[in-house]
Structures are given as C-alpha cells and as structure tokens.
C-alpha cells in the first residue's frame, strides 16, 4: 500500500507533468486505434465486396493487386458448370475519375450478381440492369457526389452513362461505386472477355478444399482462396495493415519519449528521496519497481484515455458524410489489447533509463549536501 502510495504520490506531486505524459500516451493510443480501426474497416469492407453471397474467390495467381487480375470468360463458364458450384459471378474492378472525384470504383457485374439481386434499390428497377451498354447503377453516395438522379446522364471517365438505378449498401466502397454491366465494363477498361475475379458460392462449404484443388489442377494461372484465406494473404491488405501499425507505432514511440522525459525529470528531482529510501533499506529492484510502477500508471491511464478518445473520434468520423461507409467503429478486442500492451510496453521502455539512473543513486553522495 505504501509502495503504491509512493508511486501515486510522485505523480500527484507533479500533476501537470504527469498529465502531459498521460495525454501524450492517450493521443498516441487514440491515433493508433483510429488508424488501425479505419484501415481494418476498409479491409473488411473490401473483403465484404468479395464475400457477398460467396465463399471462395478465384483470381489470377501471383498478381499484386486484384485490379491487375485477368480471369478468362472461358474459366468462368467452365467453373460455373462444376457440380459443387451453386453460382459463379465474374466481377471486373476498375477505377475511373470524374470532375472533382479522382477515384471512383467501378464494378462490372452480371445481372445475376448478388450485388445487384440482393441490394436495396432506392430508385430504379433491378430487372432493368444490363439492358443497354451505357446503363449504370450508382451507389447512394456516388449519386450524391456525382449529383445524379435516376434517368440522368453522367460523365464518368471518358464516357457518359445513363443512370438506371441507385442502390443503398452499408459497404462504403459499393456505396461510393458505380455498377456497370460486365460487358460494358470489359469494353470500358479494355479487358474484353475477362474479369478480375470470380466469386464462388458452393452448394456445400465442405467442398471448398475439393474446389480449390480442381482450380489448381485445371487452371495453372488461377488460384482459388476461401474468403478468410484471401483476407490473410492478399498482399495489399498486408501492406495496409503493416502501414497502420507502423504509423500508430510511431505515434506511440513519441508518447513513450514523453514518458521517458517525465520519468527522467521525476528521478532527477528526487535524488534525495531515493537516497532516503536506500538508507531505509530499499533494494535496487524495489527502487526500479517504483519507477516502472510510475510509468506503468501513466501508460495505463494514457491507454484508457486514448481508447476512449479514439472511440469518440471514430464515432465522430462515422458521422462525416464523405466517409460514410468507410469508417467501421467496431473496435476489435484484439486491437484494443494490442494497443494497451503496446502502450504499457512503450511506457516501461521509457522508464528503463530513469530506473537505471535511480538504481545508481548513491545515498552517501545525495545526503552529503544537506
């Protein structure tokens, strides 16, 4: 109890300094939580596009990005006829720009695609999809930023398209995207007879392994992966995740430097007190535990405050119209745990030098000058 009080007392003694350290860790934690959660949400959304009414995705082997994947129509036709396949939907991804909007994601899909069949249509008739080559269906947010209504003609990329429907989806990419008939998209993106991926719905999930092995046997340049496998292995996702953690980590490292500064000052300003503790019989490990305890309290308070701040920030971002559908405020417990552990580790690392310094304090030198 006294030990704990020694820790807390020193933090209370320098309230402003302690608060600044806590705030440093809190901002770092909030930044890390926000960046990681947003990117994980984005990854989840992109995965969601692929896993919409499907369990397996087939794409070109060894491509760094699905936008560069080419799956021939012949493969789609053959796979669709395999007995274990319920349905196989080719999807072509493309990116175009329009005035004021440098990036608009386009989806080339068939009328049978679940994205069209099962979507909630705000305007238009899903049965009219793919009747004409210049027909497009817009996501609700895309319609907003393009200023388009049902029946309008909108310039997208180098073409002008007729809006035959507007659909609503919880997925940010789809909500801000443009759906084209597959044939139109192939022409528009100069990928005649090809799609980026095939999303596969199996009759039974038990057939996944058999399906993947058949893809491997029949199509040397294609690969079939279950959704979870794809999310784990897709290099773009890996880069995004690594970037998120690296950015967050840098923030946390800065917070750690703040803790280190506080702890160094804390030790320097109470050399005499440490000397007294030594005279009272405190060991090196007891003194170090006291210093590490202080930094742990600072880090823990910072982590809790940062988690609260980060969560509030995510909720606030979710309300921003431009980010609608892109921000997922579902904070994964694993992310939370990792952030707390990283904050504690950073705080304790920041106390390494101060603790080592405190352990070297010689009582006789500190007490000689009364």
């Amino acid at each position: 109890m006294i030990f704990l009080k020694l820790i807390v007392t020193n933090l209370r003694r320098h309230r402003i300094r302690s608060f600044i350290s806590v705030a440093g860790i809190a901002f770092s934690v909030a930044a890390m939580l926000t960046v990681v959660t947003i990117l994980q949400g984005a990854i989840g959304m992109f995965s969601g596009i692929l896993s919409n009414d499907s369990e397996i995705i087939v794409f070109e082997r060894n491509v760094s990005d699905l936008f560069f994947s080419n799956v021939p129509a012949a493969a789609v036709a053959e796979i669709a006829n395999w007995p274990m396949v319920s349905h196989a939907d080719p999807v072509l991804f493309g990116v175009v720009s329009s005035a004021d909007h440098p990036i608009i994601t386009c989806f080339g899909v068939t009328a049978a695609d679940a994205r069209i069949r099962k979507a909630s249509w705000i305007a238009g008739d899903k049965l009219s999809f793919a009747q004409h080559s210049d027909d497009v269906v817009l996501g609700e947010r895309a319609a907003e930023f393009l200023g388009a209504k049902l029946g309008d003609h909108v310039p997208i990329g180098h073409g002008v398209f007729h809006v035959i429907g507007i659909l609503k989806t919880a997925n940010g990419f789809e909500d801000g995207g443009v759906f084209m008939p597959l044939g139109s998209a192939q022409g528009f993106f100069h990928k005649e007879g090809a799609s980026s991926v095939i999303t596969i719905k199996l009759r039974s999930k038990d057939d996944a392994a058999l399906f993947k092995s058949m893809v491997k046997a029949k199509f040397a340049n294609l690969i079939g992966l279950e959704d979870a496998e794809f999310t784990r292995s897709y290099s773009q996702f890996k880069i995004l995740k690594a970037t998120a953690w690296a950015v967050g980590g840098c923030g946390l490292a800065l917070g750690g430097l703040g803790v280190a500064n506080t702890m160094i000052m804390s030790v320097f300003t109470r050399i005499r007190e440490i000397a007294i503790l030594r005279v009272c019989g405190f060991s090196n490990s007891q003194i170090a535990t006291m210093i590490f305890g202080e930094s742990a309290v600072v880090s823990l308070l910072g982590a809790v405050l940062g988690l609260l701040t980060g969560t509030c920030l995510l909720f606030a971002l979710k309300q921003v119209p431009a980010l609608h559908g892109y921000v997922d405020v579902t904070i994964q417990p694993a992310v939370m745990l990792i952030v707390i552990v990283l904050a504690l580790t950073t705080g304790i690392a920041g106390a390494l030098y101060p603790a080592a310094y405190a352990m070297r304090v010689r009582a006789v030198e500190a007490l000689r000058f009364e």
């Binding site: 006294i2 020694l6 007190e273 007294i276 009272c280 060991s283 006789v364 007490l367």
Partner: protein, 240 residues
C-alpha cells in the same frame, strides 16, 4: 589506545560488553584522493553504549557514520558491525534493514506522505508484515508522543515532531545500532534537549548502541562516552 577508557558517562565500566562497531585504521578520501577525510581512524563502541563524536566540521564524523552504515566504503582499513566486516561481500540490505538505523540533521522524511507512512517505509523495504509493523509503530509513536499525529502529513508537523518521526522510522525494524548525524542540529535549544532526552531514553530501554555526531558539547556530555575527532582521526578521548 583503549578507547573504552573514555567514559563520559558511567553506564559502562572499562572494557565490558561486546564490540558493536569497530573502525581499524580507516582512511577515506573524496574527489580522487584530493580531499582526505579520514586518516587512519580507530574507533570502537560496545553494545548498548551511547557515544558522542565531537569535532569541527569536516573532521570526518559523518563519513565515519556512513561507513558504519554501509553507505560508503573505506579506502583502507576495516569497518566492522556486530563483529562482521562491512565490505562489498556483506549483505548491505540486511545491514540497513535490520542492523542499523539512521537519523540525520535534516529529518529527511518524504513530505507528501503522512507520519505513519514515513515510519512504515523501512518495514516495506524489509517485507515486514503490516500487522507487526503497525504494532511497532504504535509502540514507538506512544513513546515519542506522536500517537495523535500519525495521520498528519509531514508539512504539518513541527521541527521537533519531525525529528521524533525520523527517530521512530530509524527504530521501526528494531535495529541494535543507531547512527545519528547531528540529530538535533536543526532544532532550537529547548526542543533539542527534549528530543535528545527522548533519544537517550529509547536507546536505553531498547538496548540500542548509539553513535552520534554532534557539535553540542552539552548533549555530548550526556552520552556514556565522548570521543573527539580532529583532522580525520579519533584524536584522543577526553573526559567530560
């Protein structure tokens, strides 16, 4: 030279009792030898004895106390406590936690803690259970008249109360040796006399060996022995 013949009081006749503290030809210097503080000091104190170290500032009184407490090492010579040499091989934590207690001129209490918490610090260091520590604290607080001040922060205590608190803290783990460096040096004459009387009373009843550095000849004369230090040596014992 038989230091035990230097009697300032009369509790101990010549040569009786076990040696609690001993310094043999102790040299100590600072700043790479440029400041020589102790120059072959010899000293002995028997168990239960109260010894006053007198001498001018810088003569080595505090340094000798620090050496006995294991806070520093002699350059040459031997320091022994309870018959065991104090060197780098010795368990210094045990020495500080159980064998010696320190009282300084400045009380050296932690200002943000209460009287009670300050006194309990040595018991925390030594891992003494809370109940025993509390019982000992109450016992000492009663003897020093601090029972009603236990929950007070140090800032709210008077100088005399602070020094009595420091005395309690030094004796919490029942050390048999008390090293006091000008324990009343920061107090007025009246308070100084009262605190010192209390100190003598407690060390007598607890059978503690007291070695006290002081400039106050009046207080020194109330000890069993008065030892004169000069220029880093125990010069010669003088009778009070």
């Amino acid at each position: 030279m038989n230091l035990l013949t230097a009697q300032a009081g009369n509790r101990y006749p010549d040569g009786q009792g076990r040696i609690a503290l001993r310094a043999e030809g102790v040299w100590k210097s600072y700043d790479d030898g440029s400041i020589e503080v102790l120059k072959g000091a010899d000293f002995e104190a028997v168990e239960g004895q109260t010894v006053a170290l007198c001498g001018p500032s810088g003569c080595g009184k505090s340094t000798l106390l620090h050496l006995f407490g294991g806070l520093d090492w002699p350059d040459r010579g031997r320091i022994s406590v309870n018959g065991v040499e104090v060197n780098r091989q010795r368990n210094l934590l045990h020495l500080l936690r159980h064998e010696v207690g320190f009282v300084f001129q400045l009380h050296n209490l932690i200002p943000d803690l209460t009287l009670e918490e300050n006194c309990l610090i040595p018991t925390v260091a030594a891992g003494i259970d809370r109940r025993s520590a509390q019982a000992r604290l109450l016992e000492l607080a009663e003897r020093t008249g601090l029972t009603h001040r236990l929950g007070q922060r140090i800032q709210k205590l008077s100088g005399g109360e602070r020094q009595r608190t420091a005395l309690c803290r030094a004796l919490m783990n029942r050390p048999k040796i008390l090293l006091a460096d000008e324990p009343t040096g920061s107090l007025d004459e009246h308070t100084s006399g009262a605190v010192f009387a209390l100190l003598l009373d407690i060390v007598a009843t607890e059978d503690v060996t007291l070695v006290m550095a002081t400039h106050d000849r009046g207080l020194a004369n109330r000890c069993d022995r008065l030892v004169e230090m000069h220029d880093g040596r125990i010069h010669e014992p003088v009778s009070a």
